[in-house]
Each structure stands twice: as structure tokens, then as C-alpha cells.
Symmetry: C2
Amino acid sequence: MGADDHGHREYVINATVQSASLTPTVEDYLKAIYRLSSQGVVAATGDIAGLLDVSAPSASWMVKRLSEAGLIEHVPYRGVRLTRKGRRAALHTLRRHRILEVYLVKRLGYEWDDVHEEAERLEHAVSGKLIERMAAALGDPRYDPHGAPIPTSEGEIEQVDLVTLAEAAVGATVEFRQVSDEDPDRLRYLAEQKLTPGTRMTVLERQRFNGTITVRVGNATRVVGQELAGALLCREVAA
Amino acid sequence: MGADDHGHREYVINATVQSASLTPTVEDYLKAIYRLSSQGVVAATGDIAGLLDVSAPSASWMVKRLSEAGLIEHVPYRGVRLTRKGRRAALHTLRRHRILEVYLVKRLGYEWDDVHEEAERLEHAVSGKLIERMAAALGDPRYDPHGAPIPTSEGEIEQVDLVTLAEAAVGATVEFRQVSDEDPDRLRYLAEQKLTPGTRMTVLERQRFNGTITVRVGNATRVVGQELAGALLCREVAA
DNA sequence: TCTTAAGTTTAGAGTAGTCTAATAACGAGA
DNA sequence: TCTCGTTATTAGACTACTCTAAACTTAAGA
């Protein structure tokens, strides 16, 4: 060692990771990688950079560190995948984030379009004790305000196959289950339209070229644009 | 410039400070300086280092930066004093800390000996909006669980002259008003002894050499050691 | 007034990130 | 198989802190 100084100085990550604190930055990277590799797909360094809004070299540098720490597996120029340790850490942070979101909505009068940013900061600062107290006070919720499943404190997460409304077959009845918490405008729009998780819709028609979808909600008929339809995660329902 | 490079590289603090985020570290330093210079006394660099458990050079370096940012006035080798801007920032953080402490106790079942550490981390992460929601939910509390006054959102703080029980005159009746939140053991002991802020005590006797104080609380007589007595901040009461 | 101890600051280096610019590797089409 | 565009990584610098060791100030005692 010592001879191979590749530009950035080298240091070993100090985390034992058991639950010994990862830095907020590391937690954010792990969450991003988790999101990108939902189906076991490898995440590209560039996608990580894009999601976290950092430069590609920054992401590349962090990937190296994470890999050295045993939190991810990295095949240079190929991509990245969470190890069991990394996945555990990511789900740990995700649990915090989602419990916080529920708490802010249910106990402090936040709107569902307004909780993401706050939770994003708090998830790195709350103790495990506080999160479990919040969870208990809320009756151990299983979903966050946007319908996303909350990992258990043991690190398990419900895995349901959802399709976007954009993908649903004409004639199918689906239940709107989940939407990303990251776009406040979209969330406000959905709230205005009374389109919240749990709503059942029947796909009546799909427009050929603009991708617009017509659905029946209750007795009303509604037209959903392509972009929005692609963001609404739904479960196919028998009837 | 450029020629006078005194070891540490130079950079200008980027904070406009209006309410633009100071780093957590800066907030901690300002809080420490506020505590040390309660009565307008200058705070020594070494005391700041001691309170924050950092080395003297670290404190000295930060003092320089804080001074450049207009948050403190620094006379080298003499000491440090908060500017109006610095005081505002310190009280801002203190408000967050104390609101959080009340919230944790009243809404999440925390014990008063257990809130300091949690609040210490959260105070840097919560938004102003969240703090004001918590404050409103609590009915705008004026004191934290340890009796410390909570600065208003405008940055005003109640200034009451308190004496420690150790200083109270024999024969005097005092009301226990406030105790530091930083020593969990002491707080647990006080809770066990049912000695909480609001308790009235009459000083019956002060032992000559060990400083032990005998007080009457209600109908009971209690002996309070010197160290503990020095930590109990009291208000002198007429009767 | 001189010396010395205590306390403060400077010197210089390390850590965990950030960035831009330059280089290297991959993979798709000719 | 070669070339070229895209993507990834390395090079090197900067920030906001941390530290130890050394130098400097101040205040107090002889």
C-alpha cells in the first residue's frame, strides 16, 4: 500500500454498520441504490448521481467507499448492487422516513405533499427509540401516507407486484395503491382530485397516440394524462 | 491577500444568517457561547472547547470563523461575546431544543432525564414549521421539562434572577425552578425524590464544612448535598 | 523587572464529503 | 474489427470541520 495513491486519498470506512451510525450521506446513497435496484437490477453509477443530484465523480467515489465497507457490490463500469448489509441499512432508513411521514400527517397536521422534505432531514437524526415510540403511538402503521409499505423494525418489507395505471389493460379494474412522495405538485393535484390510495378505477379506454387513459371512478369518468398514469402504482383487482 | 496564509486556509463563512442555515456545528458553538456568557461575561476559548469536548485549537479556529461571520466579537487572547446576530441564532436553536424536549415528554412518553440527547440531534434537523406546529400542539409552552424558559419565535427569552439552593439564606423559602438537562443521573435522582420544578422548600440549616443543606419540603425534612444544591436553581419567595 | 505557568493561537495534517477537467472503458454501428 | 459516443473512473483541488505539536500572549509571582 501507500504506493497506489489514486488521486483521492484512501481511507477505510469506519462503520461496523451493525447499527453503528452511518453518515447521513451514506444513508442517502444506500436509499437511492435501493430505489434503483428494486428488482435486483444493478444500479448504474450515473443513475445514482442523477437521483441524488451530485456529479458522476462524486457518486463514483462514494460507490468505492460503500463497496469497501461491504454495503454494496461494485463491478467497475458495470454497476452496483446492495449486499444484505446494505439492504438492511437502506430499509432501516426507509422505515424511519415512512414512520416520520405518517406521524407528521396524523399527529401534526401536515399534508401528504409536504412531509417528504421534512422526513428527509429527520430520518438521519431520530433515534431508534423515537421512531419506535412514534410507530407505537400510531398503532404500527404498515403504509406511509402515499401508500408505500413501511419496513418492519426487523428489516422486512412487503413486496407486492404493482403496475402503473399506464400499463393496466383496458377493461381491468385496479386499486390505486401507491405514489411517489417526491413531487409535491403531483400530490397536491391528486389530493384536489380526491385521488388517494385505496381508490378503485376501471380502465375504460386508452388513447392511441397521447397515451391518455379514461377511467371510471365510482360513478364519474375521469381522464388521466400519460405522465400521471405512469406514476400511479396500482394493484389489479379481480372484479 | 493571498500572501498572508496563516496555516489554515482561508474561507469566508457563507451564511447570510438571516435564517439561512448555519451548520449544526456552528449552532452548537453558538449555544455553548450563549451558555457561557449568560450575564454578558466574555467566554474564554478554552471554556468553549471544554463545554463542546473539542480541542482548544478547534475552538480557536471556529471562533475565528464565527467572528468573521459577524456572529461573535472576538478579542484575541481575551475572549468572545455574541453579537446580536449570534445571540438571535443561539436563541433560535435553544427554542428548538426546548420545544422538542417538551414535545417528547408530553406527547411521546419520554422521561425528563432522557430528552436532552434526542433534542440535541433533532434541533439541527427540524424545520421552523415543525417546531411551530409542535409548540402550537402543546399550547405554546413557556418552560421546558427542566424549568428552563423557552425563547419565543421572535427571539426573546424570559430573564429571571435565580439562585442556587446552595446560595439560599438559612430561613428563606425558595421555589425550585430549574435544573440543567444534561445530567441524566441527577435528573433520575430528582424524579425519584419527587423534587421537580415548582417544589417549595424552606432552608432550615446549612452544615458548616460539608455544605449539606437541610430543607423542609411540605411536612418532610430532607438533606440535600452540596453538589446537588448547587445545581438546583431557585427563586426566592416572599413567605 | 524577570521568569514562568497557564491559556491561546498558529502550523500542518487528516477526514468525509463536494466539484471540474481529463482519461479510460464499454458497446453499438459501420 | 475499428471507431465513436456514452458512461465511468481517476486526477487534483476545495470546504468544513477535526486533531497534535509548536509558538506565542498574558498575567502573576519572585
